[in-house]
Symmetry: C2
Subunit: 345 residues, 2 copies
DNA sequence: ATGAAAGCGCTAACAT
DNA sequence: ATGTTAGCGCTTTCAT
């Protein structure tokens, strides 16, 4: 098999005896009312025959546009983020856009480096789940107006920007209410010590749900680095030790839940008999777990669809450069055995 | 904040009164013994000061090289593949290469489309876990010699190509032997009905381990589409029904294991008392599962390192265009409760 | 030791 | 309705 040689517009031009311009117009669908149908057909047929594909680098060099969207997730190997990524890619491709993924690892420095890297490569849009303490950088990125900027999963209330997020307040409230309805008298909240809007919103939702049911909220806020660590587990166990009356736990992320379940296993706590459990973000392991774990699941397809829809809309930019796209979507409570005390209902 | 305007070589040239050529040489480290140290320093300082970054599209247009490697996994959201992807990206970036990811979903058509898509975008190398019945396409891709081609996880014994894979035979053998050593008298194998080399190698490893211990192998080979389906689970349950004496199972993939565990749960089978279990590919859920599941884990960092090392070596191409890179790495048995009968040892 | 200039493939303003 | 042409930023051959 021989090396395939790419066909260029120039090749088509010489072969068909038609000027480069005409061909370019036809390729870019700008031929209407300019070029004769006959020529259009001739060119289109030839293009199909030889399988011509425009050279992306040349297009980019000329237009300054790459038709590329970057998705900077906290961790692209996390099932939640990778599921969203997959859904988005599908839609992006259909609209002639490519997607690139990367992970910030919730690290400011790394996120800044990545942004600068992709700016060098002239991407058209950023979809970002910002790391902590990143508001300043996001603000600057938006102000430069070189790329469309869309935040995901987290937002800043003091900056005007585009975002797609879960209704965290309602989600946490629903989950906590479910624990209460299952008979829990003392529901604890295990969350992240973080400036993420989603985290404070979840905590508030929990507080709102329990405010008329128990004397005071019980919460443990772990630093990001301890989510999966033994140290985090120890803190969690201490919490249970200090509050012997805890009979329900709401975990704010699936990572916290996994580590928490490990801790409960180490303590030989029986779920749901001694302790009912609900966590944010569904994962296949939660269904398989003994007992199966109830979750407040995020609507992955809807989130992905809105993210891309919004980003593409902003890329078209019909409403000026200061347009924003903001969407808050409801989560869904999936009840499984971990909160089935059967006390009521 | 104002729009950042990119600096070009021309800008530097006008600003410093030095020719474009000279500057290009300096940037590309081709200035040795050509340009005076004084000029080199002047240019380098200025570049650092203004933060000049070459325009990737122009470079690509000119050289035909993109410094980009594509990783086409079966499913990039699968924890195993995404872990490998993450490791590779790190090393690739350090060597000046970018990585792009995508999923074939084990679909021939889709894989072909993706290859053609990335050929249009002129990537420099493909790292591929081919879908089924894809040998022909891989052969053609290699023959074209436009890109470096490296296979991962699967190889073809009748085609000469580069690959990095697990030692599947030894892995399966070790796992099956462990089940036997744990006291199992009738070990079954649940695998994929597939032409993947890894699948036949695992089956052979299993057969080799049990050949002197039980009268005959017991195996169930499911089609890819039934790995996660209820139909697959039903077939699995039927197997157990037909062979009441099965007391050990080796699952060939983590997907099969997850579905199998669901099936065992539905049947109320006690692990490891009634049935010992080992599966390929570790996942966090296996450690958390009750009981925790023993696994034959793949050496993710080593696999990723070899993949990238090999690909970069081939990209340098010092040993001619027909050079290949082939590596088979050993897996590691992680013993947990699912095969702890404590009969021996 | 340094520079001039061609050309990669494409788009679009400007002819005709 | 169709064509000519400049130029995007860069690498590299060939002068000087």
């Amino acid at each position: 098999m021989k090396k395939k040689q790419r066909v260029s517009i120039k090749d088509i031009s010489t072969e068909l005896g038609i000027s480069i311009t005409t061909i370019s117009f036809i390729i870019n669908k700008k031929a209407k009312n300019r070029i004769s149908d006959e020529v259009i057909k001739k060119v289109e047929d030839y293009i199909k025959k030889v399988g011509y594909k425009p050279n992306t680098s040349a297009q980019t060099l000329r237009t300054g546009k790459t038709k590329t969207i970057v998705f900077m997730a906290e961790d692209i190997s996390d099932p939640f983020f990778s599921a969203v990524a997959k859904e988005m890619e599908e839609i992006a491709y259909k609209n002639g856009y490519k997607m690139i993924y990367c992970s910030t690892e919730n690290d400011k420095e790394r996120a800044s480096e990545l942004i600068s890297l992709f700016q060098d490569r002239q991407v058209d849009a950023f979809i970002i789940t910002p790391p902590e303490n990143f508001q300043q950088e996001i603000q600057e990125l938006i102000a430069q107006k070189n790329e469309v900027v869309m935040l995901f999963d987290r937002r800043y209330t003091t900056t005007d920007h585009s975002y797609v997020i879960l209704n965290n307040f309602n989600g946490a409230k629903t989950a906590a209410e479910k624990l209460i309805a299952s008979g829990c008298l003392n529901v604890a909240y295990v969350g992240l010590a973080s400036d993420f809007s989603c985290m404070s919103e979840r905590l508030e939702g929990y507080k709102d749900a329990i405010k008329n049911h128990q004397s005071q909220p019980i919460s443990l806020l772990l630093p990001f680095k301890d989510v999966k660590s033994k140290a985090g587990r120890t803190q969690f166990k201490n919490l249970l030790d200090q509050h012997k009356n805890i009979d329900g736990i709401l975990f704010a992320t699936n990572g916290l839940a996994i580590n928490g379940l490990k801790g409960l296993k180490e303590l030989n706590k029986k779920i749901p008999d001694e302790l009912a459990v609900i966590t944010f973000d569904d994962r296949d392991l939660f269904e398989l777990h003994s007992p199966s774990i109830s979750v407040l699941s995020q609507p992955v397809p809807a989130l992905a669809t809105e993210l891309i829809k919004g980003t593409l809309q902003l890329l078209k930019g019909k409403n000026g450069p200061n347009e924003t796209f903001q969407k808050i979507l409801p989560g869904k409570l999936i009840t499984r055995d971990s909160c089935n005390l059967g006390v009521y209902d």
